[in-house]
Symmetry: C2
Subunit: 294 residues, 2 copies
């Protein structure tokens, strides 16, 4: 019977793994390349395993143990079609469970408690757990979703800068700064927009918040539009006894002062990060394998 398990955060930038004992104590960690299972399944599998082997070495254990231990992998796309099942079958662990990135983020932030998490980075997505039931909304991407994402804040800024350039709305310090960056040439803004990826637009998010804090009218308008979208999504998830809301991701702190009072009242700091969530789920798997409640 295994003494250890491996928790893995299979992220789009890198895979992080940790070896845990039954109590959730971390004995070693490892890191490898990205897991993007929808676009590159083969390399995702390689990187997931590499991070696990590294974590075992870090824990002064034999990396070959990977094939004998249970593991929990959290990764985006695990709920799309049969991708999750395909990865579970392909992974070499003794008992491999593949869950969504939302599942490990939720476990990391809330532990076993009920509550809501909202994540705001290049994209935006929300998840909730109520009486053990987990469900999520948002996260539909830059083109037709992710209303409070950094990418949308940046896209909004460029759109409003062009409207200000055309004098359809009054320019602000921020729109003038942005147009100056593009040499005052709207064609260059359009060109940037057409070749840019969400993360390129998201680079403008910090400056939107910076100017919003200084009462720049356009920046405040952009932030308030996004905050309104956050409020609508949180309200769609909230229930009367919901104990807490956790905001995660690079932009979460920037949104704090702008949130509605009724949501602010529920804000709590995340207990741990996504890797912590994977570790906790791995420890639970180990307990169950040992004959605990399945």
């Amino acid at each position: 019977m295994a003494e250890f398990a491996i928790g893995i955060d299979g992220g789009g930038t890198s895979c992080r793994a940790a070896v845990t004992d039954r109590m959730g104590r971390v004995l070693g960690t490892g890191k490898a390349g990205a897991a993007n299972i929808l676009s590159d399944l083969e390399n995702s599998l390689i990187n997931i395993v590499a991070s696990a082997r590294q974590a075992l070495e870090d824990a002064a254990l034999d990396p070959e143990l990977a094939y004998k231990l249970p593991a929990v992998v959290g990764t985006a796309g695990a709920n799309v079609g049969d991708y999750g099942k395909r990865i579970e079958k392909a992974l070499p662990f003794a008992n491999g469970r593949v869950v969504t990135d939302a599942m490990i983020a939720l476990q990391g932030a809330l532990g076993d408690a009920d509550g809501i998490i909202g994540a705001f980075g290049t994209g935006s997505v929300y998840n909730a757990r109520r009486n053990g039931n987990i469900w999520g909304i948002g996260g539909w991407g830059f083109v037709v979703g992710d209303q409070a994402s950094g990418a949308r804040l940046g896209r909004d800024l460029l759109e409003r800068s062009l409207l200000a350039h055309d004098r359809v709305c009054p320019p602000s310090s921020l729109t003038e700064k942005i147009m100056a960056e593009f040499s005052g040439d709207p064609e260059r803004v359009v060109e940037f927009a057409h070749v840019s990826k969400p993360k390129d637009f998201a680079r403008y998010a910090p400056i939107v918040f910076e100017y919003a804090e200084r009462d720049d009218v356009i920046a405040v308008g952009i932030v308030k539009t996004a905050v309104n979208a956050i409020a609508e999504s949180l309200d769609a998830l909230l229930w009367p006894e919901c104990p807490s809301i956790c905001l995660l991701g690079g932009l979460s702190k920037a949104y704090y002062p702008w949130l509605d009072a009724r949501h602010k009242a529920l804000l709590t700091e995340p207990k741990g990060d996504v890797l912590r969530g994977a570790v906790e789920l791995a420890a639970k798997l180990l307990q169950n394998d040992a004959g605990g409640t399945p």
Copy 2:
């Protein structure tokens, strides 16, 4: 001295040409492939000349005359960098003038009068002439502009359908119809959005208007957002004595009933289409070549 001139609408779908006499009477017309001078200069030149030669043949004239006649070509991108000048040099006409597509649209719709035109198709753009001075706003494309375009109406519809799917806003008959089209699967909506071009989104514009007329709350919201954008752009161009506003393009009629009363009061039907505008400018060029006011 030339007796005829050629007016050409160098459009993104096709080039249309007409041979005109000094009085703007059309003697023959021709049509050839697209002119997209920014993305394919070589084929644009070939198609512009082909449409002109065809128009001469249609007028029972020698197509070789093309090289001895003055011509006016209206085409998108003529005002970007030195593209207009490069095409003027490359065209084989005796005296070739290259102007923007907006210029010939304005001349076609308003003749020599002052006024404003707004064009609503896959994109959206506005132009005005006041005391002979022409200026334009909008037309910055799908990603960061074209707020009242068919493409934006369609994108808005998919975005709101996903919000309704997530129960962030109440669904409507229209959002339920859209989600059914994608088998109720939000992932398929996202997939469509990521591979689609503006014209693909614009295919949803007619259904947005259809449902808005039936008071579908979501459809009405989308149309009102676009109409608000139109009002702001028209107001940015309007001046107290502006005699008329002409709406052009496939969606213009659909917008009519939704417009603000102050804009409705100025609406007039376009005098002619874009090719008519090119013909009028070509006839003026002929008059000037003949010693009229330059």
